[in-house]
């Protein structure tokens, strides 16, 4: 029987995994997130928005890399204000950056285990957690291959494996489907649904159908602000046959953006 730490059995006292109020985050000198309000709990949340909408900057702020320039941000009950100790939140965080950096000489297993160590997992849990994370992304056959020998899709999955190795309560995936073939994308959707049952998963993507298929919730941002939030089915209801797109969700996506742009120019 393994010892259970008090952190594991503590009641969840924060209502939202992510809670942002009037959040402002800079990307360079530009305010890429400008007055964003967002509350996300357990489930899989698809983050949609055109290029330059501030998706990556938002995810970087949620991953505690980019410091908020204003507003309030609370992650897993920890305020991100430059004063509070971020370590408890970071232990429960999983992050796949848009540009996933890795050590090419490490094997998949070594890199995932190294990340588990950086996330301060108990030493005894690391080997099993590493194997499980690699299994879940379907890289078991390549577990002991050097990262430099992997294809783009395999690297992306290795990146997801390191993100989930610590069973994060808050999982941030910035374009995880890049480089995956259709079959792997289906597997990833399956994995996301599974992860979303007891964690807050935020997935940034350009692929509307991935969001519809795998997410319980859609978050649409534009120009650094929350544009719309709702269920995937509700997204479809936003548009009609007159809007561009090959599916109801895509038509809803373009309808929301067009409506917003029309309001902005008025």
């Amino acid at each position: 029987m393994r010892t259970v730490s008090t952190a594991e059995t503590a009641a969840t006292i924060h209502p939202w995994a992510i809670h942002a109020q009037a959040l402002r985050v800079r990307a360079g000198r530009h305010l890429a997130v400008d007055g964003l309000d967002l509350s996300l709990g357990t489930g899989v949340h698809g983050l949609l928005g055109p290029n330059g909408a501030g998706k990556t900057t938002l995810i970087r702020a949620l991953a505690t890399v980019a410091k908020p320039a204003g507003g309030k941000l609370t992650l897993l009950g920890t305020p991100v204000d430059g004063r509070a100790d971020l370590r408890p939140a970071r232990r429960a965080l999983g992050y796949l950056p848009q540009h996933f950096g890795f050590y090419p000489r490490f094997t998949v297993r070594e890199f995932v285990a190294y990340m588990a160590w950086l996330k301060e997992m108990p030493k005894a849990d690391v080997p099993a957690a590493t194997q499980r994370a690699i299994d879940r992304v379907g890289l078991a056959a390549k577990a002991d291959a050097r990262l430099k020998t992997l294809s783009g899709g395999m690297l992306r999955r290795a990146g997801i494996a390191q993100a989930i190795v610590n069973d994060p309560q808050l999982l941030l995936l910035d374009e995880p489907t890049v480089g995956l073939d259709p079959e792997q994308r289906l597997d990833l959707r399956e994995l996301l649904r599974d992860l979303g049952t007891d964690a807050c998963v935020l997935v940034s993507t350009h692929l509307v159908e991935d969001v519809v298929a795998a997410c319980t919730d859609v978050v649409l941002v534009n120009e650094g602000r929350l544009l719309w939030q709702g269920a995937p089915e509700a997204l479809g209801a936003q548009g009609d046959a007159g809007h561009p797109g090959d599916s109801p969700a895509e038509r809803g996506y373009s309808a929301l953006l067009r409506r917003h742009r029309a309001e902005a120019t008025r």
Partner: protein, 438 residues
Amino acid sequence: MSILGLELRRSAAAGAALLALAVGVAALYLIPGRWSEGWMPLVLTSKEYLILLWPLALAAGAWQGRREHRAKVGELFATTPRSRARRMLPVLVAMGATLGLAYLLVLVAGGVRIASTASYFPPDVVVIVLVGVLSLVAAAWLGLGLGRLLPALVTAPVLAVAGVLLVFFTAIMRPWWLGAVLSPVYGSSMWYPFQTIDSGVTGALAIWMGGLALAGVLLLVGGSPRARVAAVLPVLLGLGVATAIVPRDKAALLAPVDPVARELVCTDDAPKVCVTRVHANVLESVTPLAREGLAVLAKLPGAPTEVHEYARAIDEENPAVRDDVVVINVRIDDRGGLALPDVVVLEVVSGLGVGYTGDCPRDPAVERAAAYHLLGREPVSDLELYPEMIWEEPELNAEAVALWQDLQELPPAEALSRVAAVRAAILACQDSTGLLSR
């Protein structure tokens, strides 16, 4: 899976250490004659090769220190709770331990060869080696810090070249005491096998290297510009303390003598033969040859009765000539045994047993003819006897042979009395020219 084990396998540590080991052992075994005389010669020679190993460790550290930048993992790692210092600890340990171990193994590789012949093990050896290890650790850590500070592709090769220049020019710079603080190879050029390094010099180097190591750690671990500026502090502090304690007197800085190593070790029975303690292992080989030489000289009146090894330190006066003692050089070969045993008898007899002081007039042709007359064979040029000799006055031996032939034609008693007159003249500090051909 241990993270230290992971870093040992996947960082530059193992490769750099293997390279350092290969370079160090190759340099040692290229010229084993430089260190076959004993433990201190081995230690000093290995320390001299830090001119290659120190820059190598510096460059390896810089290469490794650039890893996070090269792999662009900063974004991902910034989201993890483990602090940068804790993240870097296994890298620091892996790089420091493997390179330090490599230096020890270089010494072990040399030690294996001399273990059976080297008799004298001075305690200074341990301290000098440990500070050598510290120097390599410091180089690796400083490299790690600089590699992170300037994560460019050229950093490592530039540091390698700069390291060689720095180690070399600080070793020969003036004032000597500053070079003694700054250069990890200071004091390693060997003048005699009973040389050592002053413990004050070793201590000062240890403090300076400790300062560099700490600066490297601060550069590697510290994130803010203020932390980087703080890295200058241990460098200045180390330099200040080291220059304060380093000895300034020439005796401690220029080829200092280990008095115990230089002490003469003698045979118990007469005629007495003595060698320095570092050469004690060849006393048994030297003794019969030296006594053979004494027996040749014994034909002369008032002939010397002892043979001592020549053991003058670099800054000393020549010892006063004693007419009962012959002073000879003891040469050691590549394997630690007696080199050129054939010339030992000649060494004793040449100069008719009177050492050179530089103050008195000497006639080499007369002395050579006289010595070879006692030996009963025709004079030969020193060029044929000593491999390290590259030049001799061309007429010298012809002149000696002519004088020797004249001696051969004289009645033996007359010849011997002329040779005795030459020895008497040398001892009296008078010119011996013409004494053989009256």
